[in-house]
């Protein structure tokens, strides 16, 4: 019942990843270490190191490279290009967004054929960008946004949205504001900013584990969940473009986590503005140097 893709080298029919024999996570995996720090030595409200670069793809109109800890995303923007006249006329532009995840990006090798999760990711990024781009400026046109996730170690939706906005800025597409993505997690009612993939997976199975520990039919009541939010910090005093949340918690816990994530978005926004300003200065200087030659 294997889907043999005739266009790719498929290799043998069935292969077993080594993680069946040995989990990539440490044994006796706890969410927090004894000193209260997380497994990657961060404090609960500390985000991973970030890196932003623009104009890294020579062939694209605009491009960007985002690193959130070890999560790496590359984005290329092409267009705006005219939609063929056979399609229904639309007075505002359209965004086509496609996310591709490299097969080696996660612990277990992913099939190169996009699965539902990747398609959902593409749709979520597209919707975030549609809120931000001034589409009325591009009638009958289509803007293509392509993302490649080179490594997925958590927070991939936030990284994709941020990378897409940066690349759109690099491509001189008019937008209301830059959309910045960030994620938060709750574990046992505590908020943790910018969860890594190990933490996200730990929380996803937390409810099950807690129910097993309690035993005798008692329902686990601790709050666990994950949230990703994409924010436009300066447009109309801050507008949320996308929000995806899973888990269960009280409304006030949700509000606290959301506020923490929005604060993270604002901090990242400040860094991004600086990156874009530096890029403009650089290209200004290089064009002046060319003119004087």
């Amino acid at each position: 019942m294997s889907n043999r893709d005739p266009r790719r080298n498929c290799g043998p029919e069935k292969t077993t990843p080594i993680y069946v024999l040995k989990s990539p996570y440490p044994e006796n995996n706890q969410f927090l270490q004894e000193d209260g720090k997380r497994n990657d030595k961060r404090s609960p409200l500390e985000i991973r190191k970030v890196y932003f670069g623009v104009s890294n793809i020579s062939q694209a109109k605009g491009s960007s490279y985002v690193e959130l800890g070890r999560t790496k995303v590359v984005c290329g923007v092409y267009g705006p290009k005219e939609i063929p006249p056979s399609n229904v006329f639309k007075s505002s532009g359209q965004v086509m967004c496609e996310v591709k995840v490299a097969p080696f990006s996660s612990f277990v090798r992913r099939s190169p054929v996009p699965d539902r999760q990747v398609k959902e990711l593409s749709m979520q990024v597209k919707e975030a960008l549609e809120a931000a781009i001034i589409l009325d400026e591009y009638p009958k046109a289509q803007i293509d946004v392509f993302l490649t996730v080179v490594e997925d170690r958590g927070g991939v939706l936030g990284a994709c949205v941020t990378a897409a906005s940066l690349a759109l800025c690099d491509a001189d597409i008019t937008m209301y504001d830059i959309v910045v993505g960030a994620s938060t997690a709750w574990y046992n009612g505590q908020i943790y900013l910018d969860p890594s993939i190990e933490e996200e997976e730990y929380i996803a199975t937390a409810a099950e584990r807690q129910a097993l520990c309690k035993g005798d039919g008692e329902v686990a009541t601790a709050s666990n969940g994950c949230l990703t939010v994409a924010l436009m910090p300066l447009y109309a005093n801050g507008q949320v473009a996308t929000m995806v949340m899973s888990g269960s918690m009280t409304a006030s816990q949700l509000q606290d986590g959301l506020d923490a994530a929005l604060e993270t978005c604002r901090k990242i926004y400040a860094i991004i503005k600086q990156v874009l300003l530096n890029r403009v200065k650089e290209s200004d200087e290089s064009s002046k140097a060319e003119q004087s030659e």
């Binding site: 080298n9 290799g11 292969t15 990843p17 062939q59 092409y78 190169p112 993302l147 490649t148």
Partner: protein
């Protein structure tokens, strides 16, 4: 898991090697598999449309597969865990981040670099139960027999050929000659594609030029491996 990144000019590719275990084929019960695949997403260039892999990706994947199949690079018997029962299958996925021509050279270098610093854990099988245990402490580097390096020439006309063509060069050229050399300068493989013609004398000149370019690429590769070894200790 192992990755390598190669940039030739603007062309940037990343290769990731994932090792998985599988049953060997009946014809070759002691040989493992190496499965190279080149992915050209629409992200890297406006020439590639969304959807299943196009001609360029398929032909580059097939080229890498042919090169690795002829037993010159890796001894497939080294990939055997338990004869007739379990072997390693190395998936080498090459993802192009920026396409500016000459995909073949960059892809081959990246697959080679990733395989060169690949270490496989020791897997042993209990002969009574057939169950496997993995020992992450005992890791063994994969033995690479040869380091083939390719050089690509774009054929614009019978008088003009371009070494290491960029994307704009490739769009003008009507053909391509790829020369693959081993470390000692021996020719491992040549490939001529496209509609333009080229004389035999010209191909001999290509081989000579490729032999001159060979030490530069090998040195760069070795420096990168040494740097990586230094950083990881």
């Amino acid at each position: 898991m192992n990755t390598s990144q190669v940039s030739i000019g603007n062309t940037t590719v990343v290769c990731g090697v994932k090792a998985e275990m599988c049953r060997p084929s009946l014809e070759n019960p002691t040989k493992g598999f190496i499965v190279p695949n080149v992915e050209l997403y629409s992200c890297c260039s406006p020439n590639f449309k969304a959807g299943p892999p196009g001609e360029k990706a398929i032909s580059t994947s097939q080229f890498l597969s042919n090169l690795l199949d002829n037993n010159e690079v890796v001894n497939y018997e080294d990939l055997c865990i338990v004869p007739n029962k379990w072997v390693w299958c190395l998936y080498c996925d090459v993802v192009c981040l920026d396409f500016d021509g000459n995909l073949v050279d960059a892809s081959l270098l990246s697959v080679l670099a990733a395989l060169l610093h690949l270490s496989l854990p020791l897997v042993s099988m209990n002969p009574d139960t057939g169950s496997l245990t993995l020992s992450a402490q005992h890791i063994q580097k994969l033995a690479i027999k040869n380091r083939p390096v390719s050089t690509t020439f774009g054929i614009y006309s019978s008088e003009i050929q371009l070494l290491d063509p960029s994307a704009s060069d490739e769009s003008e050229c009507g053909g391509e000659v790829v020369v693959v050399l081993l470390e000692n300068g021996d020719v491992c493989c040549t490939n001529k594609t496209g509609r333009r013609q080229v004389s035999g004398e010209r191909i001999r000149q290509f081989i000579t030029t490729a032999q001159r370019r060979l030490p530069v690429l090998q040195r760069t590769l070795q420096e990168a491996l040494d740097q990586h070894a230094m950083n990881s200790t």
